[in-house]
């Protein structure tokens, strides 16, 4: 999977309440509606700034807080191509993979807001085209690659009728 877009940088500990506030998420299953409010408490105009395929780039512990799957779904429906962070909170990480939003662990100190990035998930490398540098990606566990390749956990279940990670051992 190859992705291309501009970086929008945030800090450490971006929690799920910041990604999508509880006051919206309980109201609706319309993800397009939720997407308009993504990151609103950190940057009220964030949704307007996104071009399709852009990246959210953050520090440590991205997605901490609640288990709401609306968080990765709102990001995905806001046309964000992937989230790049130094580390992720575990429930968010699982939810992102399960719902087909690529999440990438890497050293985001080497990226500034506005940088043009090319992310190659298969090769495990990010090219920062603005800075002319390359940043290695921490590989995903095999189970997660399998789920992402199947198009998320729902498609994995549809395909196998349950969990099937046998090939990976």
């Amino acid at each position: 999977m190859e992705l291309q877009g501009k970086a929008h940088k945030f800090g450490n500990d971006v929690n799920t309440d910041y990604i999508i506030s509880g006051k919206y998420k309980f109201k609706t299953l319309d993800m397009q509606e939720l997407a308009k409010h993504v990151m609103e408490d950190l940057d009220p105009n964030f949704y307007q700034k996104i071009n399709r395929g852009d990246f959210i780039v953050a520090g440590t512990n991205f997605g901490c807080g609640s288990s709401r799957e609306q968080a990765p779904l709102a990001i995905k429906h806001a046309n964000i191509g992937a989230v790049l962070a130094k580390s992720f909170a575990r429930i968010f990480y699982r939810n992102a993979i399960n719902t087909g939003l690529p999440v990438v662990e890497c050293n985001t100190d080497l990226i500034d807001s506005g940088d043009e990035l090319h992310v190659d998930l298969a090769e495990g490398v990010i090219k920062n085209k603005t800075k002319g540098t390359e940043i290695p990606i921490k590989p995903l566990p095999q189970v997660m690659i399998k789920i992402l390749n199947d198009g998320g956990l729902a498609s994995h279940f549809k395909k196998y009728g349950g969990f099937n990670f046998d090939q990976e051992g």
Partner: protein, 432 residues
């Protein structure tokens, strides 16, 4: 307070979580292995179940794996504050009826109180819940963890879940908590020490005489907040208190899971809690923790006692003890949300609620109360709230221009009396 890191050697000793995951996957596992494990119980609440039901349908699910091992809880926005939420509640009721699973409707309480009260979960159980504070049942020596809606749907269909076996950090708490200092102060202190991502991808084991001395209610408070240090689970050993507590709710037999003496820990942290002061987490981070004495005098306009962290009988009773015969400060709104209907009734029987109401409390429906900004008390711009909840993120209670301080029920009650953050030790000379 010293920290020791052990080198990983070759050993087969296991932590509590390694043992529970081994028993549920029929092989001897250790940290960092991936397992597909059998799940004993599954819970979803009204913020997460609607999406899980949609994922269940997308996956081609027909029946749930075992209707007796599933509970859906309407607690986050209960009763419904608007028609959007009402439609989602209806979807849950219809799904529960069609699949024959237990539905806790409005007024029954908050999910993390209802699951333990159901008697379905105890030592050695493996539980997933579509709510991040599912780690609460670690107080019962169970491995329970929060998952998202799609994971929940997978669990509902298959009765299984995949896990990476986490490493464990052991928190050894020596000494006894002083008067006026509670389980909430202890866990806030630990979170402040290890920070909000100090245990990410890991399990916490809490042990030592300070943990043993806690009531079950206090232990639930400590386990509940494991996720605020990033942990997947927060586990404790079972003892007579655990079994006495369980016996109130079930005849089911459970066997305790004890860590091996040669179990491997990623980190062992030791604390002496005998001089601990009441703690407060300041806005807008749970790990922004200080002794109450640092923030004494900060004005508050709203005080909240309740939530899955501190809405139990003991919590309401401590608050009532401070507020009995007194009046909440005229500039403060005190909101009380008992964690379950059972607790609500017990608090009435003991006269605890009467004291709180006479002091000026507004008692709301058992459930999440104003914790997550859906209803029941959204603060105004520039207001300060002191709450017994577990999160103080900006916007958490529905207004990003308000500030949330987290503290024990005693500190919240004392602050409600004076209208400013107050050291509860002025009112509590010995622990009840």
């Amino acid at each position: 307070m010293k920290t020791t890191t052990e080198e990983r050697g070759i050993n087969l000793g296991q932590t509590i979580i390694e043992k529970i995951l081994s028993a549920h996957s029929n092989k001897h596992v250790q940290a960092n292995e991936i397992v597909v494990a059998d799940v004993d119980f599954i819970m979803g609440q009204d913020g997460t179940s609607p999406l899980a039901i949609r994922a269940f349908q997308e996956m081609g699910g027909s029946d749930v794996f075992d209707p007796n091992r599933v509970a859906l809880v309407i607690d986050h926005s209960a009763p419904s504050p608007n028609e959007g939420v009402s439609a989602l509640h209806k979807l849950m009721r219809e799904f529960a009826r069609a699949k024959g699973v237990r539905l806790y409707d409005i007024g029954e309480g908050v999910c993390h109180q209802l699951v333990p009260e159901s008697g379905m979960v105890g030592p050695g159980s493996l539980v997933i819940g579509a709510d991040s504070h599912t780690c609460t049942y670690g107080a019962l020596n169970a491995f329970s963890t929060g998952v998202g809606s799609t994971d929940l749907a997978g669990g509902l269909i298959s009765g299984k879940m995949w896990f990476k076996v986490p490493e464990t950090i052991k928190f050894v708490c020596h000494g006894r908590l002083p008067a006026g200092v509670y389980a909430k102060d202890l866990i806030l202190y630990l979170i402040g020490d290890v920070t909000a991502d100090g245990a990410t991808y890991m399990a916490a084991e809490y042990t030592g005489e300070a943990i043993a001395a806690l009531s079950m209610e206090g232990r639930f408070t400590v386990a509940n907040m494991a996720v605020e240090m990033g942990a997947k689970a927060g586990l404790m050993e079972a003892d007579e208190k655990t079994f006495a507590w369980l016996a109130r709710y079930t005849d089911r037999k459970f066997s305790p899971v004890v860590p091996d003496a040669d179990a491997h820990y990623a980190l062992v942290k030791e604390y002496d809690v005998s001089k601990l002061e009441p703690q407060v987490a300041k806005p807008h981070r749970v790990d922004n923790v200080c002794p109450v004495t640092d923030v004494v005098g900060t004005p508050v306009q709203q005080a909240v006692i309740g939530t899955c962290t501190n809405g139990r009988l003991e919590d309401l009773a401590v608050a009532a003890k401070i507020l009995a015969g007194r009046k909440v400060h005229p500039d403060v709104r005190l909101i009380v949300a008992p964690a379950s209907r059972r607790i609500y009734l017990e608090a009435i029987d003991l006269g605890v609620l009467q004291e709180l109401i006479k002091a000026g409390a507004a008692v709301v429906t058992p459930g999440c109360g104003p914790c997550v900004g859906t209803h029941n008390g959204i603060p105004s711009d520039g207001e300060n709230v002191i709450s017994t909840a577990n999160r103080n993120f900006k916007g958490r209670m529905g207004n990003s221009n308000a500030n949330i301080y987290l503290a024990s029920p005693a500190t919240v009650a004392a602050s409600a009396l004076t209208g400013k953050i107050t050291d509860p030790r002025e009112y509590i000379k010995e622990n009840i």
